[in-house]
Symmetry: C2
Subunit: 252 residues, 2 copies
Amino acid sequence: MKAVCLISGGMDSSTLAYVAKDMGYDILALHTVYGQRTEEKELMCAKKIAKSLDALEFMEISLSHLTQFGGSSLTDYSMNVLDHTDEKGDEKRKNSQEKTQTGAGNEESFGSHTISGTISTTIPNTYVPFRNSNLLSIATSYAETRGAEAIFIGVQASDYAGYPDCRPEFVEAFQKVISLGTSDETNIRLMTPFVNLNKTEILKKGLKLGVPYEDTWSCYKSNHPACGRCDSCYYRLKAFEEIGVKDPIDYA
Amino acid sequence: MKAVCLISGGMDSSTLAYVAKDMGYDILALHTVYGQRTEEKELMCAKKIAKSLDALEFMEISLSHLTQFGGSSLTDYSMNVLDHTDEKGDEKRKNSQEKTQTGAGNEESFGSHTISGTISTTIPNTYVPFRNSNLLSIATSYAETRGAEAIFIGVQASDYAGYPDCRPEFVEAFQKVISLGTSDETNIRLMTPFVNLNKTEILKKGLKLGVPYEDTWSCYKSNHPACGRCDSCYYRLKAFEEIGVKDPIDYA
C-alpha cells in the first residue's frame, strides 16, 4: 500500500507523512521547489523526514513556472514578506496589485503590449496562485505512474481564511477531477487528515508520533535562523507555546 | 477581454487560438514543453501561431517533471511510439507496463526499494499521466495572475476513447476546481469549443478562419519531415483528405 506524500519540509507536511506511515502506507515523498526564498533549507528538511520514514523514493520537482508568472511575495523577491504583526493592510494590498500588473519578467517579450492583472486584493501576498491544484496534479501524475492508492496533502483549517485552494470544497472537487481524469483501473484517494485540525492539534499528534521537528522548517523569509516574525513562524511558535514544548529550531 | 490559450503547435490548439481571437479575446499564449520528442518543432510552430494572432504574451513553460515520472512513450525515449496501423496490442501493453515499473530514472536513488506500478494496460502508451490537469492548473495560475477571463483548451471528441483526461466530465469537474480554488473576485471560464467536434470539423473551421497550417506540427515522432504513420499524423492526414485539401507540411 503506497501513498504519495507532499512533503514541503514544514511542520504540517512532515507530521502528515508520519501519520501516513502510521496508517500503514509506504511513502513516496514528493517535494516541490518553486523558487521560494527558503527553498534550500526546505529541501534539506524534506529529505531528512523522508529518510527517517524509510521512504520508497524521494522525488524533487521544480514548479519554477509559478515563479515565471509572478504575483506572490514567496517567489517574487521584489515584494516583501510582511511580518505577522504588520498592520499596513493598504501596503500589503498595493504590493499584491503592483507586482501582478508587471509579472515577474521571465517571459519572452512579445510585441509591445501592456498587461494589467486583477488578482485579489484581499488574500495575503504570500498566496501562490492556484498552487495546490498544481501540486495535486503533479502528485496525481506521480501516484498514477507508481500505482499509489493515496495522496496526502497537509491543507488545514487555519489556512481557509486566506488561501482559496485550501478549502474542503476545493479538495472534494479535486478528488472528482482525479477520479475522472485518471485511467479507470486507477483508484487514488486524496487524504487530508488535517483539514479540520489547527496547528496546535497537529503538533500534539506529531509529538506523539515522534516527528523530529528539529528537521522541519516553516519560516517564509530566512534559511537560518528562522525570522520568528512572518505568519508562518508566528503560528508555529504559537502552537509550541500552547502545548508548552520548546521549538527545537533556532530563531533570530 | 483576455484569454489564456494553450497552444501546443498542433492543428487543434492552433485552430482553437484562432477561434478565441475570432470571439474577441486577446490571446495570452501558453506553450508547454515536457521533454516530448518533437519539442523544438512544436515550440517554433506555437510561436508563429501566437505571432500571427498578435498575442499579448508568449509564455513557455517546462513540465519536465512529467518526464521525471516516466510512463509515456512521448517522453520516455526507450519506449516506442507505435504506428497507427500497428496491431501488436500485446507489445503495446507490455511496453506500458514495463516502463512504468522502472520509472524514467531521473529521481534520486533512495534506499534499495523496488517500486512496481499498476498503470492502465488499455490506454495508449502515448498517454502522459494526468497531463491535462497539469496543463489546466498552470493555465489557471497564469490566468489568475493576468486577470484573464477564459482558458481555451483543445480537448476533443476523438480523444475520449483513449485519454481519460479528455472527457467532458473531466472538463466540468475541473471548472469546479477553478471556481473554488481561485480567489472569489476571479471568474475564469474553461472553454472547450472543440469538445464535440471531430478533427475534420475542426479543420473545416480553421480553414475558414485562415489558420496557417504550414506553421503547425502534429507528428509524435519526428521534427521533420512528419512520419505520416503515428496516430497523430494518421488522423491529421485523414482530416485533410476528407476535406479534399492538401496538407501543406512535408511527410516522409
